[in-house]
Symmetry: D2
Subunit: 149 residues, 4 copies
Amino acid sequence: MKMIPYCRDIFYYETDRMNVVSHTNYIRWMEEARTDFLRQAGMAYDQIEAEGLMIPVLEVRCQYRQSLTYGDRFAIVSRITEYNSFKMKIAYEIYNARTGTLSARASSAHCFTDSSMKPVRISKRNPTLHALFLKSMDAEYSAWDYGAE
Amino acid sequence: MKMIPYCRDIFYYETDRMNVVSHTNYIRWMEEARTDFLRQAGMAYDQIEAEGLMIPVLEVRCQYRQSLTYGDRFAIVSRITEYNSFKMKIAYEIYNARTGTLSARASSAHCFTDSSMKPVRISKRNPTLHALFLKSMDAEYSAWDYGAE
Amino acid sequence: MKMIPYCRDIFYYETDRMNVVSHTNYIRWMEEARTDFLRQAGMAYDQIEAEGLMIPVLEVRCQYRQSLTYGDRFAIVSRITEYNSFKMKIAYEIYNARTGTLSARASSAHCFTDSSMKPVRISKRNPTLHALFLKSMDAEYSAWDYGAE
Amino acid sequence: MKMIPYCRDIFYYETDRMNVVSHTNYIRWMEEARTDFLRQAGMAYDQIEAEGLMIPVLEVRCQYRQSLTYGDRFAIVSRITEYNSFKMKIAYEIYNARTGTLSARASSAHCFTDSSMKPVRISKRNPTLHALFLKSMDAEYSAWDYGAE
């Protein structure tokens, strides 16, 4: 499955007075990248919710390497590293889109629930979605969008 | 009605790379101060929502005077300046709690709706709440909490 | 000067439990739209800062009309409505990019300072920038980017 | 060293449309709790910065157990689990302050740098601070503040 990295410019309000992006925002970027990944894989999250399914976060982890700041642009490569119809794990590589430097490595773990937060098994509940999850595990990424100079 | 100004220390992640609190956070502080005011007036917002009522924001305005940064503490004095059972207006004075300097003057305008966003008349829908709104218009503020040294 | 509206999809974390975008985020979107406008006009804000200039916010105002939520996309049309080398005022129209409905009308007022927050006169301090500000007052907007279906 | 858990009410804007606190905010709460812990230990972070020292984040991790929402209050117990003058690790237990239920377990890893982001050795650079870090490893927590009814 062909994928495009999730890219955008950094917002001024995302920096803190250390003159870099607050590390707290990376967790938000992971959510942005994850929903963009799902959308590209044919599983827009608002549609998943409309079908009464939710993908809550069980765990997040982020290792910071190189800081980013206003004027920079990031590119995130997301991959589903584990999926078994009950649970899923996603790995993220967060790059400085202009320099190609790795800014952070991160991961998130998820389960699948219905709208009352009860666990569900995707293969049984929604076989089409199950097939899309399996298919999206073979993501092949194109180069990212460098953005305006 | 005796009131205590809404006070708290500024969070590091609320600053931006200009080394001051991002102006965007003042709108969030207004929401914090507003719900604290309602709680003090006997109208905790989660209970208002539990009764099927909402108080959406129609307009906000904020005039910035003196910046604040990490290490500072703010104190907000909120007053209901207009209330007529359909609509409400609140004025906020945001102070540097340590120096007493005015940091910003702000206001928000609101209406009252049911949970499907249809306008409601508080005096008819919930006379007890209506009485509390009227009573809270006479807020008399004590000195604020200066915080830890 | 040809301009493109500032558009993007709404992030999940921008919603609140009223199931709509928290009104507090519109002030952040205004900052995003403003810096995008400046960039399009040849005045990238990180370059402005690198020249020792800042454009702090003196006042913001936002009138909310129609709520937005996750799954929606916004488009913002920004215009400099006043500029006199000391101060500037910007007006924003925030639309639901899919339906074309107006979501909010907003404005922000600014002054120009050096990096120690002292007021400066742009025409004297940086005539090239002054010319760009004047030129950008004639922004003509193209249709916006509707985004992925 | 006697410590008080870091407690506060949850803000409305911290919830998302899943009707719970966005998981992204826990990373911000960890920063709030960490700076409060340092302040209680006699190491206010703004003073640490004023001495030209910074404590950047190398890694964060958070495991989510029970969601929280508006109307709830959290209490965070922080402990320095590793400290060796170059690096530090902090563990956080995040509780629902009203019920005592564990909401999340988290940790963050840090190094110490000067203001140009060069690593420093605290024991050499600031022996007083070094002594305070060592002392704060024996934190004994009192019961937390349950908050307003």
